[in-house]
């Protein structure tokens, strides 16, 4: 097993996540795509920690997981509030701040 294999896999998953964020129309789908991208970053951090023999990468991964939890909780709460006010979760129709 080489480091490059893990990094290539993470790049692939990250690009798929970006594709999902760009194509999804409902806000929950966009959050799912962001989850995928953050997960790909975690693969990179753990692979670097292993192949450089440095445990700090695992500590960073733990922080990433905690921050992801906070992000998802706040993001989904905002989506639910938006749904309550506007009766839609379609990201294309949420353009109040458009100039």
């Amino acid at each position: 097993m080489s480091l490059g294999a893990y990094l290539t896999l993470a790049a692939l998953v990250f690009a798929i996540g970006l594709f999902g964020v760009l194509t999804r129309r409902n806000a929950v789908g966009i959050l799912l795509g962001i989850e995928l991208m953050l997960n790909a970053v975690n693969i990179n951090l753990v692979a670097f920690a292993r192949f450089h023999g440095d445990v700090a990468g695992l500590v960073f991964t733990l922080f990433t997981i905690a921050i992801t939890v906070a992000e998802v909780a706040v993001g989904l709460a905002i989506v639910i509030v938006i749904f309550r006010v506007r009766r839609t979760v379609d990201a294309d129709r949420l353009d109040l701040l458009r100039g």
Binding site: L9, A11, N26, I65, A66
Partner: protein, 166 residues
């Protein structure tokens, strides 16, 4: 040899479930595909010798976050949202080439990258003990800040989710 087989099975599961997540229109299917993806990534963590992170991944992601997602999807029922003609089809058609471009760029960086240790990994250090020691010595301050972040997120969510005017 067997590690390559395990890696390819887990990688195929991860990539396949990621594709399923972005290609299926129904968000509840997306959430279930995300569970498969997170599980296979936990398997990769096990292969990399990070047992604690694999357990944390399953507990935090596949447990807590997925319950949150499925709950939100059930409350919002956005399954019917993505029907009808797409008003921004022209912009959205740019997404596949942009994703492919990013993937190619990242693959190029990985292939050309220097300074990476070549060949097989060094023998795994005793990660769990070292991880705990590092977390409570050198990274103690960020660790405590994380608890403040989680508290702030919890208070913010409670504030957002309460009924208006109460």
């Amino acid at each position: 040899m067997s590690t390559w087989v395990a890696f390819f099975v887990l990688a195929a599961l991860a990539v396949g479930s990621a594709l399923g997540l972005v290609l299926r229109r129904n968000p509840i299917h997306g959430a279930l595909f995300l569970v498969v993806n997170l599980g296979s990534v936990a398997g990769l963590y096990l292969m990399l010798g990070a047992e604690f992170l694999a357990a944390a991944q399953v507990i935090v992601y596949a447990g807590a976050i997925m319950v949150l997602f499925v709950f939100a999807i059930m409350v919002l029922i956005p399954g019917k949202e993505e029907t009808g003609p797409d008003p921004r089809r022209a912009v959205r058609l740019l997404a596949p080439p942009l994703g492919a471009l990013l993937c190619l760029l990242l693959a190029f960086v990985v292939a050309r990258g220097t300074g990476a240790p070549a060949g097989a990994a060094p023998p795994a250090p005793a990660t769990l003990g070292a991880l705990g020691r590092l977390l409570f010595t050198r990274y103690l301050f960020p660790f405590e800040l994380t608890s403040v972040l989680l508290l702030a997120a919890m208070v913010g969510v409670l504030l957002l989710a309460r009924k208006r005017g109460s």
